[in-house]
């Protein structure tokens, strides 16, 4: 019988031993974030996505003066030395600028790029986590190349299975909340129902995530081309140690939620509105820790997979 505490600590020590992966991913995450936000530094925010991406990487110059309106106006002080919602709304509602629309597009695109990069690079990370030595760059990228489409197939299956379950749960929850809303004159009840439903959905998604993480680990470390086979093996493995795995994943998820909320609160309470450096540091520290939590889950699953393998051999 595997002990949950040791599993969690094993995962943590794996992450600590292989910090470079965490920092690479963080650097990529930051770089893409900076790309997305660089439209604020351009002289103008281009109107279409293609131009924005070019502008983000410094390949296009603009002929307007969007950010000039901000940088040369006393009115902007209300955003620098505070966060005046009306000024922000006025900025976003300017049809000549439409910065919200423009920057939101960039935000979506670069967020999705990070997600795709994660699929591509995760096999290398899993291989590195399972190895007792530092794997070479070649091994890392070979694992990525070999397993990319396998992980994409797993992603599609996850979307199909978890998406359907989560969709049904959320729809049922909202339906129930609507029914409660229609029947009760207490406006807290539908919110409580929705919240309970959301917690349940997250719980179930966490179970699915643990299952699919184990399947990904099996696909990469077991070099399993038939992903359905890995899914089946992982389901059995995860089922046998259901409470243990769920406990590990939930503990780390809760820790991540605490990190995020605490980070935002610290940002809000400790950093004066005009202190850009402080805001950047707290924000980035929060994001780094958040990313570390996810890597901790992955490392925990690698440790679990290896112990299962050892148990099977024994």
């Amino acid at each position: 019988m595997l002990k949950r505490t040791s599993l969690i600590y094993s995962g943590l020590s794996v992450v600590r031993r292989n910090q470079r992966y965490l920092f690479w991913f963080y650097a990529l995450n930051l770089l893409l974030g900076l790309f997305a936000s660089s439209v604020w530094s351009a002289r103008t925010i281009p109107p279409d996505l293609g131009a924005q991406i070019l502008a983000s990487v410094g390949l296009s110059s603009a002929d307007g003066d969007t950010t000039g309106a901000l940088q040369h106006s006393f009115y902007s002080d209300k955003l620098l030395h505070g966060m005046d919602l009306n000024v922000l709304l006025e900025l976003f509602s300017r049809p000549d600028l439409a910065p919200l629309q423009a920057t939101s597009m960039a935000m979506n695109v670069f967020g999705i790029v990070f997600f795709l990069a994660s699929i591509g690079l995760m096999p290398g990370v899993l291989l590195g986590y399972s190895s007792d030595h530092r794997i070479s760059r070649g091994e890392f990228f070979r694992a990525c190349g070999t397993n990319f489409w396998r992980l994409v197939r797993l992603l599609l299956l996850f979307l199909l299975i978890a998406g359907a379950v989560a969709g049904l749960l959320l729809a049922a929850g909202f339906g129930l909340a609507d029914a409660v809303d229609n029947a009760a004159n207490d406006d807290r009840l539908p919110i409580l129902v929705q919240f309970a439903c959301l917690v349940l959905t997250i719980l179930i998604l966490t179970i699915f995530r643990a299952w699919f993480d184990l399947a990904q680990t099996d696909v990469v470390l077991g070099d399993q081309a038939a992903v359905r086979k890995s899914l089946g093996t992982s389901l059995r493995g995860a089922w046998q140690h259901f409470g243990q795995l769920l406990g590990c994943y939930l503990a780390i998820t809760v820790a991540a939620a605490i990190v995020l909320v605490a980070g935002i609160l610290l940002w809000n309470k400790l950093v004066p509105p005009g202190n850009l450096g402080g805001a950047f540091l707290i924000g980035q520290a929060t994001l780094l820790l958040l990313l570390a939590m996810r890597f901790w889950q992955r490392a925990t699953m690698v440790a679990f997979w290896e112990r299962q393998k050892l148990e099977a051999v024994a």
């Binding site: 995450n29 930051l30 893409l32 974030g33 997305a36 936000s37 660089s38 439209v39 604020w40 530094s41 950010t67 000039g68 901000l70 940088q71 040369h72 106006s73 006393f74 009115y75 902007s76 002080d77 955003l79 620098l80 505070g82 966060m83 005046d84 919602l85 009306n86 006025e90 509602s93 300017r94 920057t103 935000m107 979506n108 670069f110 967020g111 790029v113 990070f114 997600f115 994660s118 699929i119 995760m122 992603l155 996850f158 979307l159 229609n182 004159n185 207490d186 406006d187 807290r188 919110i191 809000n268 509105p273 005009g274 850009l276 950047f280 924000g283 980035q284 994001l287 958040l290 996810r294």
Partner: protein
């Protein structure tokens, strides 16, 4: 029935005697009572044109109300009247009614009417219409459509009398009617076991400026009625907690599981009521200069923790209105926290209004309850007592009230945090009104009939936002004291009357001693947009032509040019402040008549900034970003926004990856 109940019945019957002998009344016996039991005054405060005596029974299951209305009308018009129009507002909630057609076209108050919901059906049906001394005139009733000729609209009905009513004479109508309330629409109707009875009885039009003023019910318009006395008996299930306009003068339990409540109101022009088994009452008092006012807060149980918050903001608002404008003369004020999820939030009736909050109402977010309470209480003045024509001049109640609301909120919570001060995010009411206005600033003038606006966005932007912004701009130009005196004079002069827009504007001119015709023509009667900008700023050395000029701060002489551009078509004199790098400030006055002007200076200093309206008096300006130009760019703000965007993009990417990879 015990002795106490018998006593109640006796008292009630005394109060409703006219209702029981209506058929025997002759014109010579008629009068409108000079009662003062509901006001802190020894004599009537208004010209009492009407006396409504209504006996109504509400069926909480079917949402149907059966009633008889005895209306005594005093002809104070100075001329004979042979027709009388009546509003039947609930008929607006029918698929072919003008209200519904406009609602379908534009959407109104959160409803888009994508498909017809049978629960939205409302009806106000006159079963019988009799006139004292003239008999049954039910067959003479005709629907009229003065605004849009929609033959299917049944919100105004008219009766032609066989003989005209002489000046100063009285007439009495006895109307038997039946209401079907809709599921809450336009702040009337039912929701679950809650009901708000607003605009629920046949109401006579107003003779105004030589003609009947009785408009159809429109999706955005509100109401207009004459002052008078109301005596209303409501019979409903005994488990209901009931609140209404005026004072409660009777409460009798009936053997059939119902109770009959009697209300009396003086010097009001409408009567509304609400009932729900869930209300919890919270009481407070405000000491007006005319006497004590009993404040009753009818809270939803789930919002009970906010009861004192409602009471506190109500008292603080009453205190400011009394101090700035004049006293609140009624003995009661009922604040209703309506059914959650209903369309009954934020509506004003005399001595009674619905507020609106939710379970989640942090102290720093003041939309509910504070803003809505301040706003709806303000209507006790700008609608309740100064009873403007809400159909034709919606800005005179909503807009003037929006301005007063901002004044009150600013004085309590500070001008930059009067809407919100939560988690580092702030918002002030004056800027909020301006943001509302610039969303649709050039489609319709303020002086525009409510139903003629281009769309709902323009209606709300102009009647609420623009009016508040125009008055705030006037306050900036004339000074707060002058503006307060003007509003105070306007209130005292026109309370319990139906003033026109000219009455209001002339009062401001009179008190300020200024001719404001040019301003009013653009701001009130026109659609001109005000937008001034600092177009360009340059500085260059006087001896620029010398090849190797070394510039030394404080010694080198510069020629500086500042261009100010009037981008909009609204002409208003403005101040411009130019600052130099030696600390010097120069103030210029520009009449704004040309499209642009240029100021040139020759100094041993360069311009560092230029700003139009440096004292921030002109809230009407469409674009505040271009009002100033700082020569040296301050990249802090774009860096700050970029930092937020970086964080959000990273977080979005991480969350996506967390769940999918």
């Amino acid at each position: 029935m015990n002795n106490r109940a018998l006593l109640h019945v006796l008292l009630i019957s005394l109060l409703v005697v006219p209702a029981t002998i209506w058929g025997q009344a002759s014109q010579g016996d008629l009068s409108i009572p000079a009662t003062t039991s509901a006001i802190n005054a020894a004599a009537p405060l208004s010209p009492r044109v009407v006396h409504y005596e209504i006996q109504a029974k509400y069926d909480a299951r079917s949402h149907i109300l059966e009633a008889t209305e005895l209306l005594t009308y005093h002809n104070l018009t100075g001329q004979p009247l042979d027709t009388f129009p009546f509003h039947l507002y609930l008929n607006g909630f029918q698929p072919s009614a003008t209200w519904m057609r406009e609602g379908k076209r534009e959407g109104t108050r959160g409803q888009d009417f994508d498909s017809w919901n049978p629960k939205s059906y409302g009806e106000e049906k006159i079963e019988k219409f009799e006139v004292s001394g003239l008999g049954d005139l039910t067959s003479q009733l005709q629907y009229i459509h003065p605004d849009d000729d929609n033959q299917d609209d049944r919100t105004v009905i008219q009766v032609r009398l066989p003989k005209p009513l002489a000046p100063d004479a009285y007439i009495q109508f006895k109307i038997a009617f039946r209401d079907q309330f809709p599921e809450t629409l336009a702040r009337t109707g039912w929701n679950r076991d809650f009901v708000l009875g607003g605009q629920w009885f046949p109401k006579v039009g107003v003779w105004w400026h030589g003609a009947w003023n009785c408009h159809q019910f429109h999706a955005y318009t509100e109401f207009f009625a004459d002052f008078g006395v109301y005596d209303v008996q409501l019979t409903l299930p005994s488990y209901e907690v009931v609140g209404a306009t005026g004072i409660e003068v009777g409460d009798v339990k009936n053997p059939d599981g119902t109770k009959t409540l009697t209300y009396h109101a003086d010097d009001v022009h409408d009567f509304a009521w609400t009932a729900s088994p869930h209300y919890k009452d919270y009481y407070s008092t405000f000491q007006s200069s005319m006497g004590p006012v009993k404040i009753r807060i009818m809270m939803q149980p789930s919002h009970w923790s906010q009861a004192e918050r409602h009471a506190r903001i109500t008292r603080e608002t009453m205190e400011r209105f009394e101090q700035w404008y004049g006293p609140y003369p009624y003995k009661t004020l009922t604040v209703v926290d309506p059914e959650p999820g209903s369309q009954a939030y934020g509506m004003e009736y005399p001595t009674f209004f619905t507020a609106g909050t939710s379970w989640f109402a942090p102290q720093g977010i003041r939309e509910g309850p504070e803003i809505v309470v301040v706003h709806e209480f303000g209507h006790q003045y700008w609608y309740g007592m100064v009873a403007t024509n809400e159909f034709e001049d919606a800005w005179m109640d909503e807009g003037i009230n929006q301005y007063s609301e901002a004044e009150v909120m600013d004085s309590i919570f500070g001008s930059s945090t009067s809407i919100m001060d939560w988690l580092g995010v702030t918002a002030g009411e004056d800027d909020g009104n301006r943001i509302g206005y610039i969303a649709a600033d050039d489609l319709d003038p303020m002086a525009w009939n409510g139903w003629r606006y281009a769309d709902s966005e323009s209606y709300y932007a102009v009647t609420y936002g623009k009016t508040a912004v125009v008055l705030k701009t006037l306050e900036g130009l004339l000074g707060q004291d002058t503006m307060r005196r003007a509003m105070h004079t306007y209130f005292l002069r026109y309370r319990f009357t139906h003033p026109t827009k000219e009455d209001f504007l002339k009062t401001i001119e009179e008190i300020s001693g200024q001719n404001l015709e040019g301003f009013f023509n653009q701001a009130v009667y026109g659609t001109q947009v005000l937008d001034y900008e600092v177009f360009k700023v340059t500085s260059y050395p006087v001896q620029w032509f010398r090849g190797e000029l070394e510039e030394t701060k404080g010694q080198t002489e510069y020629i500086s040019n500042v261009w100010i551009h009037r981008k909009g078509d609204f002409v208003l004199p403005v101040e411009v402040e130019i600052r130099f790098d030696n600390g010097e400030k120069v103030r210029e006055q520009w009449d704004g008549r040309d499209r642009w002007t240029r100021y040139t200076y020759q100094k041993k200093a360069q311009v560092v900034s230029a700003e139009v309206d440096p004292d921030h008096k002109i809230f009407l300006d469409h674009d505040n970003f271009n009002n100033s130009y700082v020569v040296k760019a301050n990249r802090g703000v774009t860096r700050k926004l970029a930092n937020y965007w970086t964080f959000l993009t990273q977080l979005f990417g991480q969350l996506l990856t967390w769940w999918l990879v």
